[in-house]
Symmetry: C2
Subunit: 429 residues, 2 copies
Amino acid sequence: MKTVKIGMLGIGNIGRGTYMTLETNRHKIEEATDLDLQIVKILNRHPEKDRGIDIPKEKYVTDIRDILDDPEIQIVIELIGGVEPATTYMAEALKAGKHVVTANKAAIAKNGRMLQELATEKQLMLRFEASVAGGIPILNAITSALICNEFSSVQGILNGTTNYILTRMTEDGASYEDVLKDAQAKGFAEADPTSDVEGIDAANKLSILISLLFGIGVAPEDIPTRGISDISSKDINFAREFGYTIKLLASAESHDGTLTCNVEPSLVPLDHPLANVNNEFNAVYITGNAVDNLMFYGRGAGPYPTGSAVIGDVIGEARKIEKGAAYDLTPHLRYDADLDFRGEGQNPYYVRLRAEDRPGVLGQIASTLGTYEISIRTMTQQTDKEEDGVVSIIIIVHDVERNVLETALNVLLKNHSVKSIDNVLRVLE
Amino acid sequence: MKTVKIGMLGIGNIGRGTYMTLETNRHKIEEATDLDLQIVKILNRHPEKDRGIDIPKEKYVTDIRDILDDPEIQIVIELIGGVEPATTYMAEALKAGKHVVTANKAAIAKNGRMLQELATEKQLMLRFEASVAGGIPILNAITSALICNEFSSVQGILNGTTNYILTRMTEDGASYEDVLKDAQAKGFAEADPTSDVEGIDAANKLSILISLLFGIGVAPEDIPTRGISDISSKDINFAREFGYTIKLLASAESHDGTLTCNVEPSLVPLDHPLANVNNEFNAVYITGNAVDNLMFYGRGAGPYPTGSAVIGDVIGEARKIEKGAAYDLTPHLRYDADLDFRGEGQNPYYVRLRAEDRPGVLGQIASTLGTYEISIRTMTQQTDKEEDGVVSIIIIVHDVERNVLETALNVLLKNHSVKSIDNVLRVLE
């Protein structure tokens, strides 16, 4: 049995889950891989804090140099999270000749290219399975077993907090605000939920998927991103009437030499496999030209599912170290494909607006949309009047650029019949 | 770029799909892997037959020695199917120093152990991703990214033909016989559908999954297996009433040192992710102690999805050949776990029977089941009488050994009130 010594940076929730996954399953891992994996040092900036886990005190170090300068440590696991100091620490680890495993989507989305170049130069491995969709081994799949495919699209439910909130709104009829408060009380949402509910977390993960699936770099801040805070139970109910459920989708498509993508609450047909991905579960739905449609479903967060992915990466690296064929960049971020990034492209949209309840209004709206060459798939006036003389109108339009649609909707607003544009959401076909 | 030369055995549907996947995606594969994969010889026992594919005639050979004796060929792809001569050919290829890739579930389920021992002895690779669930990269996932998990259960929809038939019966209300005929006409079912509809195909795949997930050998013929030919639209409708849909599930569970498994049409709760796997799609739902529940969904058959898995394996082997670290048994069939195989174990069951429509009959049935310590979860007498004085009764019972249940049901049959036992199906919890 070959021993591989590991240094771990950070001992928060994910760090504890990773440590416990390794210790609890040590017997299985040794049997299956003939590897003795030892986390020998842990960077813990607050060693006085009770972590609620039985780790020998002598493993804790407060200075990262104790890990970087230890010649016996071959793999460094980074679980601090956030762009810095995590990026600097990973770069230092590579410079010190250590292979790296990380769960850090923000650092990989922002600095993956630089870190990968450093790993290549040093002939070291850099793995980050846990950075996208937690325990779901999607990065490994698309860059090994599925690598012969040309991929044409991906749609992901990549954030558990928002999927939990939308599921509770859908199943319980509760408001966004109430469900968010409840999720915060239960620890499913952070005190500051911005990164989750505004889609930033999902955009980081989509940026990584785009590089692996399509071979081009799109920075998270360049991905058109909208969060779920404007979704009301009205949208959820109207969507259901039309045969859809609302999910925060991270989507990207490649066609005719262009790449389009966005993160946005989207109407998903009820018979689509993604429609049944509920609560805190994540899923990634991809289409390749040989394998056709595939979906991976599982837990996208949590200490143990994330620990499963981290230890999976550690084993992947340790097996290669053992075989003496250490250098292998899988997954491999690519930035060289011949694709033009074209923003979010053309999509079908759902529009909810309020207008005067009088004859001719639907016709006016249809004509105005028509002058912008926006083609209407469905248009329904809701029978329940919300206030005197004003009704909700739901329109689903065929493929259109979102800015063209918004220009047309602004023209409608100047028309006195239309009182407000209440929501505009992408529709998945 | 490194060239790897390949010999392929068989040029049926899967062979053509594999060849076309490699040729169509050659550019993507070269960019992503820096490998030039060349299928240089193809064993074609009927070279005169028009295969409807543009393959240079000089690649065809009729004698396998032309492939085995070619020192330039490093990988042999076996796509003949069936146990023999495929097993012998793979053994010969390993003896000749070739790495092997196969899509052959029957040969791996029966002879995987022998072939793996041969590969180990020769320090060669043996891969068989396509043998279970076609294009879905489940074997790679469970033996690499997820390998740190102790797995407790697997439920798979592993046969596309039967899933297509059950879906059409459910959605169209058609009979088993009519849907089977239609599926045969469309080429979704074989002229002799026995292996699919009787669950034999699924049992082969489950045997492979059991070895990889739980580390013990259970031969396909030792897996309790029932097919779908006895499912009627009555069962489908009653199941729906109780909140279930019927799927042919291949299941295995490990608990307290025992392994239980079976292949059987089973009632799946409508809110379970497997309930929405429809038509010819396959899915594998697994539970690991770190990663929790995961589902992989995709196409389990077809030339291109299967070709995707075969070429994925070829690339996996070619990458290791290129790095000079050729010997690596992933996936690794294991037979050494400390688990007792206990047949199908205890499960909840659905029972449909016909009995006289008179007071006291339900009580009699419940008492008889009670004497066998069979606990009833639900018992309903259907209101639509089928014939004079006889009604259908649906019973769902808690965990029980199937043979105990059948003994009790036979006692009921001797009771004149019970006219027939029409079906007994496992219930997934």
